[in-house]
C-alpha cells in the first residue's frame, strides 16, 4: 500500500530539525520519489457494489473491488471479502452499480475543439498517409474530455479523419484523465475509408489495397532471396510506408476499414483471407446481409446503434435492430457514437437504445468495454484483478437517461465529471446584482 498522509506529514515535520540544505535535498528527493504516486491513486476498497465484471464472474451483488497502484487488486463476491481492508479509503457503494469505464472509439476527441474553427482541428491533413500519427496533436486539456467523462467514458480510440490518399493514417488510444500522459498506445491500427466515391470508382481503392499487400509480399520475398546471395550486404532499410504495410501483413496491428455496402465488406473479408491480416470493420451498415460470413471470419465490427436511415445507396439496410441481429449471429461488436466528437458521452444511451431493440445487456456491456479492450489490446474493460482500475460507480442503470456517474476512476485515480458546461450553468443560475462576469 501507499504511503499514507499521516506518515508523509511526520516525515515533513522531521525535516525541520535537519539542516536547510539537507532539507532541500530531502524535499527534492521526496518530490521525485513520491510525486508520481501522489498524482497516482489512493488504495480504495469499494464495498457493497453491484459489480458488472464483464468477465467470467458476470454480475456480482454485494461485491467488493479493491484497487491500488492504479490497478484492480482483487474482486470479491459477497461473503468472500476479508473483514478488514488495509486501504487508504473504504467506500460503501450502497448497492450501486460499478462497471468498467466505457471505451469510445472512432472519433476526434482531443484533436478538435470547435468543429468549424479550422485552427482547432488536427484530425486530418492533406499530406496524411498510412504513417500519419495524429497522437502528436492530442490535447488532453480539450474541454471535450471532461464532458465525455459524464458518459462514464474512461478510454478512447482516437481516429484521424478521412484523408486524400488511400489510407487516412493511424489511430491511437488514450485515457480520459486529462493528464499530459494520457496517451496509452500510439499508431495502434491503420485506417482506411472504402465505399462509394464522389469521383471515380470504389473498385480503385480496393484494387490498390490488394496491390499494396501483394507488392509488399513480393518485395520481402525478393529481399530474402537477395540476402541468401549477398550475405555480407545489409538490406536497404524499408521505407516507412512499407514498414506499416508489413506490420499489417504480420498481424502486428489491425486494419480498420470503414465500409458499408455488403460487396465492400465481402471484398475486405476476402483480403483478410488472402493475406491473413487482422481486420476490423467500421460502420458496416450492410453487415446484417453478411453476418454469418463476418462471424465465421472472426472479424469484429465497430458500429453505431442509431444509424437506421438509408443515408446512401451503400446503406439501405440500416435498422435499430441490426446490433441485436449481428450479436445473435456471433459477431463481436463495439459501439461507437454517430456524429462528431463533442457528444460521445451519448455512448451509454445508444447502448440503451440497442437494448430496447433487442440486444442483450450482456452484449451491450461487452460492446462498450471488453470487446474494445480486446481488439485494441488495452489492459482495461473488465473488472478483473490486474486490469487498470478504470471504474465507474453509477447512480442507477448506466444506460438510463435518468442515471448519472456518481464517481469514476482512471488508473485508480478519482476523476471529476465537472466540465466547462457546469461552470457556465453555475454562473447563470446564481442570484447576483452584478454582471455575471463577476461570478464564478
Amino acid at each position: 500500500m501507499q504511503l499514507n498522509p499521516f506518515t508523509l506529514k511526520q516525515f515533513k515535520l522531521s525535516t525541520f530539525v535537519i539542516t536547510p540544505v539537507l532539507t532541500l535535498v530531502l524535499m527534492l528527493a521526496l518530490t521525485l520519489a513520491f510525486l508520481p504516486n501522489a498524482v497516482n491513486a489512493k488504495s480504495i476498497a469499494i464495498t457493497n457494489a453491484t459489480v458488472y465484471t464483464v468477465a467470467s464472474q458476470g454480475i456480482l451483488e454485494q461485491a467488493t473491488v479493491v484497487m491500488d497502484e492504479g490497478k484492480i487488486l482483487a474482486v470479491y463476491a459477497a461473503g468472500d471479502a476479508p473483514e478488514q481492508f488495509d486501504t487508504d479509503e473504504i467506500l460503501d457503494a450502497k448497492g450501486r452499480i460499478l462497471t468498467p469505464g466505457f471505451i469510445a472509439s472512432m472519433n476526434s476527441l482531443g484533436l478538435v475543439e470547435v468543429g468549424a474553427v479550422a485552427r482547432t482541428r488536427d484530425g486530418s491533413d492533406e499530406k496524411a498517409d498510412i504513417t500519419f500519427d495524429a497522437s502528436l496533436a492530442f490535447n488532453p486539456k480539450s474541454t471535450l474530455i471532461p464532458y465525455a467523462r459524464k458518459g462514464g467514458i474512461t478510454n478512447n480510440i482516437v481516429a484521424p479523419e478521412s484523408g486524400e490518399g488511400l489510407f487516412a493514417g493511424q489511430t491511437f488510444a488514450v485515457n480520459l484523465s486529462g493528464e499530459f500522459n494520457s496517451i496509452i498506445a500510439k499508431k495502434n491500427a491503420v485506417l482506411i475509408y472504402l465505399g462509394s466515391e464522389n469521383k471515380g470508382s470504389r473498385a480503385q481503392k480496393l484494387q490498390l489495397l490488394d496491390n499494396k499487400f501483394a507488392d509488399a509480399i513480393k518485395k520481402s520475398a525478393k529481399k530474402n532471396g537477395q540476402k541468401k546471395n549477398k550475405k555480407d550486404e545489409e538490406a536497404p532499410a524499408l521505407k516507412r510506408k512499407e514498414q506499416v504495410i508489413n506490420a499489417l501483413l504480420a498481424g502486428e496491428k489491425p486494419l480498420l476499414a470503414y465500409a458499408d455496402r455488403a460487396t465492400d465488406l465481402l471484398a475486405l473479408l476476402a483480403l483478410k483471407k488472402k493475406y491473413a491480416i487482422d481486420l476490423i470493420l467500421v460502420g458496416a451498415s450492410d453487415a446484417v446481409l453478411v453476418a454469418d460470413e463476418i462471424a465465421d471470419a472472426n472479424v469484429p465490427v465497430i458500429l453505431s446503434s442509431v444509424d437506421n436511415l438509408p443515408s446512401s445507396f451503400d446503406s439501405l439496410h440500416g435498422s435499430l435492430t441490426n446490433m441485436a441481429i449481428l450479436a445473435k449471429a456471433g459477431v463481436k461488436l463495439m459501439l461507437m457514437t454517430k456524429g462528431d466528437s463533442h457528444n460521445i458521452n451519448q455512448l451509454r444511451f445508444d447502448a440503451g437504445i440497442a437494448v430496447a431493440n433487442g440486444l442483450s445487456k450482456t452484449d451491450a456491456f461487452l460492446a462498450l468495454t471488453a470487446n474494445v479492450a480486446d481488439v485494441f489490446k488495452l489492459n482495461t474493460g473488465r473488472i478483473v484483478a490486474g486490469k487498470n482500475a478504470d471504474l465507474v460507480l453509477w447512480s442507477a442503470d448506466p444506460f438510463e437517461i435518468s442515471s448519472k456517474v456518481d464517481l469514476m476512476w482512471i488508473n485508480g485515480k478519482s476523476v471529476s465529471t465537472q466540465s466547462r458546461q457546469d461552470a457556465l450553468r453555475n454562473r447563470y443560475t446564481k442570484q447576483t446584482n452584478m454582471p455575471r462576469a463577476y461570478s464564478n
Binding site: 474553427v117 437517461i401 450553468r425
Partner: protein
Amino acid sequence: MYKTSIKLSLIITVMSLSLTACLPNEKQDAKVTINKNPYPSTYQALPQQNTLFTNATVLTGTGERLDNADVLIVDGKIKQVAKGIIATDTVIVDATGKWLTPGIIDVHSHLGVYPSPGVESHADGNEMTSPNTAEVWAEHSVWPQDPGFQAARAGGVTTLQILPGSANLFGGRGVTLRNIPSQTMQGMKFIDAPYGLKMACGENPKRVYGSRKQLPSTRMGNVAGYRSAWLAATEYKRAWDKYNSDYALGENPQAPKRDLELDTLMGVLAGEILIHNHCYKAEEMAVMIDLGKEFNYHSGTFHHGIEAYKIADELAQNGNCVAMWPDWWGFKMEAYDMVEENVAIVDAVKNSCAIVHSDSSTTIQRLNQEAAKVLYRANDNGFNLKVEQAITWITANAAKSLGINDKTGTLEVGKNADVVLWSANPFSVYAQAEQVFIDGAKVYDRFDEKYQAKSDFLLGQE
C-alpha cells in the same frame, strides 16, 4: 379668367361627384388580390377509429399527470380524459402499465428537403444563391417519400415543421405537415397552420456570402441585410394597404407590382406568417428582438438558442419561444457555450415557451429521450422538474410556436386526437412508441405490420 376658373371648378366638382356615384360598377378595375393559399392542403385523416385507452399514465401536455386514467377519442377528437370512462362502440386499448401523451411535435425538421438518401439530387433544403430568398417555400422541395418520415412516426412524431436551411438571412417559408404517408406535400399539409419564415443569425450567412465577397460578411452586415429587407417590406405593405384602402374608397388605384420575396415579408408584418429564427447567441437574439420592434413584427421563435439561458428573462418577457437541443455543442464557435440545463433555465421563467427540437433525422425519432436528457440533467443540478412539465417541451409549447395550439399539442377535450401510446415512461431509454394516432386515425403500430408504412424508395431493395 375668373369665370373660367369658376366654371372649371364646377366641372371638376360635378365630375368627381359623378365619379364617386358610378365607380363601383363602371370605372373600377377588378380588384387585385394576393392568393395567400395557392398550394392548399388536401390532407384527409386516415380511417379513424373511436378508441378508449384505459388505465394509462396520462401526460396531458397541459402540465398535468393523471395516473390510472382513461382517454376517449371519438371522430378524430379528444372526447374525454377521466377515470373510469364507459364508452360503447369503441376499440378498447388496455393501457395498463403504459403511458399516453399528445402526439410529438418537432418545430425544426428538414425531412423531405434534405432526405435520405442524401444524394446531391435530393439536396433541396437551402437556396444558397442569395442572402435573401424569402421568395422560396420549403414545401416546394418536400419529397414525401423520405424514409425519415416513417422513422419519425415510429418515434411518435405526428406534426412537424419543415424549414429551409440557414445559409441565408431570409431562407424562405417553412411548412407544417401532418406526419402521414402521402404522394404529395399537399396531402400532408397541416390545414390552417400559419406559414413560418426562416431567418438566420450569425456564422452561417456571413460565412456563405462573405466567402463570395458580398454582403453579409460580418454580423453587422447580417443586421444591415435584415433591415434593408424590412424597409422594403414596409414600403411594399404600405403600397398594398394604400391600394386596398383607396380601392375600398371607390377609387381605381394601380395595384403594386407583385414581388414574391416581399409577399412573404409582408405576411410577417401583417402577423400572418411566424418568424422562425436560427439564432445561437444571447447578444444576437437580443438584437433580433429589437429588430422586430423596429419594424413592428414579433421576433417569433428562436431556434437552436444555445445561449438562451443567458437571457431567459428577456426572452420570456418578449414572448419568444425558444427551440433547443438538449446537448449539441462545439460544432462551431456560436455553439461553444452549451449548458445541458438550457431548456430548463428557459422554462423556469414565468410565461416562457421552452421547446426541444431535433433538426435531425436521427434524434427526431427520439424527441422523448432528447427531452429526458434535459429533465434529468437539470434535476441532477438543483432543478425539480417533473415528467408532466418536460412533455410540454415537445408537445404544447411546440404547438404554440407553430401557431397550432388551438388544434393540437395537448390532450384537452376538443383537440385533434393526436396521441402516442408508449410502452413505458417515455423518458426512459427503453420506452417505445407502440401506437401513434393522428386525428384519431391509427398511423403506426409497433406490433402490427398493417400500420407500418414504408417509403417507395425502400420498396424492393434487397
